[in-house]
């Protein structure tokens, strides 16, 4: 051996990375546009984000926004549903629509040479959707079956039950985006049409464009194709009732399950919280990446799981803190105990080494988050969705670098609430409940996927 392998190679001089320039403008119909021009490849991606997600669903009509997002491309302009899809396919372009609690997303991906035509088709969907009764009936039946299939999926069930428990049973963030059997059944096609008239407007939308096109050409094309979209916004603001939970263990029974799908957490602040960057660093240390405390403990030390993470997620008007993993049935109690220990430990503080590691990892990873059009589009979407300033990414690294250890420790104290943890177990009740009752972690309840007690 002609050199010492135990010596850790040091990096060369720091790299230069220039952020892509974000341009913003407003179309004459009021639609706000965020745009990044990229010339590497002849491709363009376009996302329309409209702030009318499922939190606006009227009572007993849960699932309306989602059904609207499924209906919007079922025929538009001169094309019926199948013809419309065919027109995108022939270009090699793709269109998709989806919905979450806060927003509806429409997106198009295309080669630059087919941008104009793809935009034309997109504009038909936005401006001249059909909402035919026949299509409505079919799409609604699709959802009804999907709701049935959810009962098979442990991750989905854990997500639903956790949402209901932490947000409380009268909170729009607790209600599933897909809705419930009976609420979906209550929706009629006129309500889809009303939704389009009242909720889907340039006023509550942002268009994100990333790709190989000049700003002038983009503006001209958007003005040409989207000028007829001007419906009036008439959104009824949802009412948020928040609950404060006591630490408890809720079991959703999946008889014969060999694993338990596990969630531990509580409601948390929304994105505009002043300690966002300290929370981010704290969570990176706690459970935000592979070498975080929770994963190293549960996976690399104990071998209980394929992976365990913790996460602060942000809605527009709320947020969640959640630890998630799945573990074999016999290790469930031990895994929950370890998670609770880690949550308690982080509140006693992190080490300077951990802070440096987290900071270094986040800062150095930054350039790789602007590699693909999809990544850039989702970064721009974040600005739009969370109402962040357009120089957010310019200041991002300084904001991360400036977080002190005192602030990280404070973030743990303020944001990890041990007495409010909802512990959700999707697994075999008969093999779980006794051990959890005797462990006395908190009241043990048997629940359904709506978080309701069942006897």
């Amino acid at each position: 051996m002609n050199f010492d392998r135990s010596k850790i190679p040091q990096p060369l001089q720091e790299i230069n990375f220039t952020l892509p320039e974000i341009k913003s403008f407003v179309l004459s119909n009021g639609l706000k546009v965020l745009f990044v021009q990229r010339e590497f490849l002849p491709i363009i991606r376009m996302n329309l984000i409209t702030g009318c997600g499922s939190i606006f669903d009227p009572k007993n009509k849960n699932g309306l926004a989602n059904l609207f997002s499924m209906m919007i491309d079922e025929g538009a302009g001169d094309y019926n549903a199948l013809e419309l899809s065919e027109e995108f396919d022939i270009l090699g372009s793709s269109f998709s629509a989806s919905c979450n609690h806060d927003n509806i997303f429409l997106s198009v991906r295309t080669l630059s040479e087919n941008f104009e035509r793809s935009l034309e088709l997109f504009s038909l969907i936005v401006q001249k959707p059909h909402f035919k009764d026949l299509d409505f009936q079919r799409e609604r039946r699709k959802i009804e079956v999907k709701l049935l299939q959810q009962k098979d999926e442990p991750e989905e069930l854990a997500y639903l039950a956790f949402g209901h428990l932490v947000h409380g049973k009268n909170n729009p963030y607790a209600f599933p985006v897909l809705g419930y059997d009976d609420s979906v059944n209550n929706i009629n096609n006129d309500e889809i049409k009303d939704f389009y008239q009242n909720n889907f407007s340039p006023d509550n939308s942002h268009l994100i464009v990333v790709g190989n096109i000049s700003e002038e050409k983009l503006i001209a094309s958007l003005e040409t194709y989207l000028n007829k979209w001007s419906s009036k916004l008439n959104l009824i603001a949802p009412i948020f009732e928040f609950v404060k939970n006591k630490k408890s263990v809720s079991i959703l029974n999946k008889e014969g399950a060999v694993q338990t799908e596990l969630r531990v957490g509580h409601r948390s602040s929304s994105r505009n919280t002043p300690d966002y960057f300290s929370k981010t660093i704290m969570n990176t240390i706690l459970g935000g990446q592979f070498t975080s405390r929770i994963n190293l403990n549960l996976r690399e030390a104990k071998g209980f799981t394929y992976g365990a993470t913790s996460n602060f997620s942000y809605y527009k008007n709320s947020g969640e803190f959640c630890v998630s993993t799945s573990v074999s049935t016999e290790n469930t109690l031990a895994a929950v105990t370890e998670i609770l220990n880690e949550l308690e430990n982080i509140k006693t503080g992190v080490t300077p080494q951990e802070l440096n590691f987290a900071r270094s990892s986040i800062v150095r990873k930054f350039p790789s988050q602007f590699e693909s059009d999809g990544q850039i589009a989702s970064n721009l979407s974040l600005l739009a969705i969370q109402n962040l300033p357009y120089d957010y990414f310019d200041k991002y690294l300084d904001n991360i670098r400036n977080v002190s250890i005192v602030e990280v420790n404070q973030a743990a104290v303020n944001n990890i609430l041990l007495n409010e943890m909802s512990i959700v177990l999707v697994g075999d009740k008969n093999k779980l409940s006794e051990s959890f009752v005797s462990a006395e972690i908190g009241e043990v309840k048997i629940i359904n996927e709506k978080g309701e007690l069942i006897s």
């Binding site: 790299i15 230069n16 990873k365």
Partner: protein
Amino acid sequence: MNLLNIKYEKYKLSNGLEVILHQNKNLPLIAVNVWYKVGSAYEKRGKTGIAHLFEHMMFQGSENAAKEMHFRFIQEAGGTLNGSTTFDRTNYYEKLPTNFLELALWLESDRMGFLLPALTLEKLNNQKGVVLNERLEKYENQPYGLAWEKLLGNLYHENHPYSWPTIGYLDDIKSYSIEDVSSFFKNYYSPSNACLVVAGDFESAYCKDLIEKYFGEINSNELPSKNSYEIPSLEKNIQMKYEDNVQLERIYFAWHSDKAYTNDDAGLDIISDVLCGSKNSRLYKKLVYEKEIAQDVSAMQISGKLSGIFMIVATAKPGKDINELKNDILFEIQNLQKNGVAERELVKSKNGIKSSFIYSLQQIDNLADHLNAYNYYFNEPNSFIKDLKRYENVNNESVKSITEKYLIRPNVQLTIVPHVKGL
């Protein structure tokens, strides 16, 4: 197409390690990607899953990087990393800011050459636990999760290495000893059995010096002789039915098809798209859209070095007769063989595939993995154009003949039905 013409440099170190370099200065990033020519197809029945378990052990530290440190070094540098195992190969990859190239090469070379001194029973037992849970999470505890394993077991003779899933069987995974793991390493993790790709923003001479420094001194060993396997075939249809913890009935069809990266393999990809790839595809339109007897239907060509599998999967809507789905699926296959496809259907598929080729060039780690794949299967890293040509050459006649050759043949039909509830 110029875009798809990827410039590279390829050479071999004296120990046999293949090296492929591709410069791309769009962003200050580098991707390091190593393929070892070993996967679950190199295992034996009774000893399944070791290639994948071994992949886990490669992240457990080596002589100069303690347990957890492999992850820590890369993550502290702002990098991402992972690995994966298939029938045919195992890959390891990381993407980092370009100033950390040496770190990545140091770590990859340390586990290529100096893994065994750091191997312990404690690490092995820990990763067995992780892999057992991976299996429970992705197979046992998923609805329809055991279908793939049942299909493979019936398509292939029990000694064919595609007859078991890559993750392996629970009892086999539990059985491995330190000796099993270290002899697997000695057999297959030789520089002469690997190919290293570095792609991204680096200076060529500097990179080559580092590669020689870190990998040049690792000795190669003689590789085990390769087994050869007969091209598998079925003499008659096999029909199976299993109960699972599910709400809806699902039917799986599986046929033997062609190997990876052949012309027929591309034809089968296009056939899968014509049948199920979009709203207007034949089976989706008929079963999901018009008749509404299925909640979903999909088709896929899954291919490896030894053989391929063509699959169609459909989930029946509640109360719908699975036999009607079956008949419609078989009818469309016969229809394809007799009457072929319309030009417009081919154009749609080909344009979609062309777009996805171009989208796939965006991320340097993805590109690096492609170079390794083409080098392995075509012995030529710059094969994007050749690969796309396989699709462009598919025509009405080839669709008909491919359908006849592979799909008008005996197949495995697996039906998964909901548990019959007792009182």
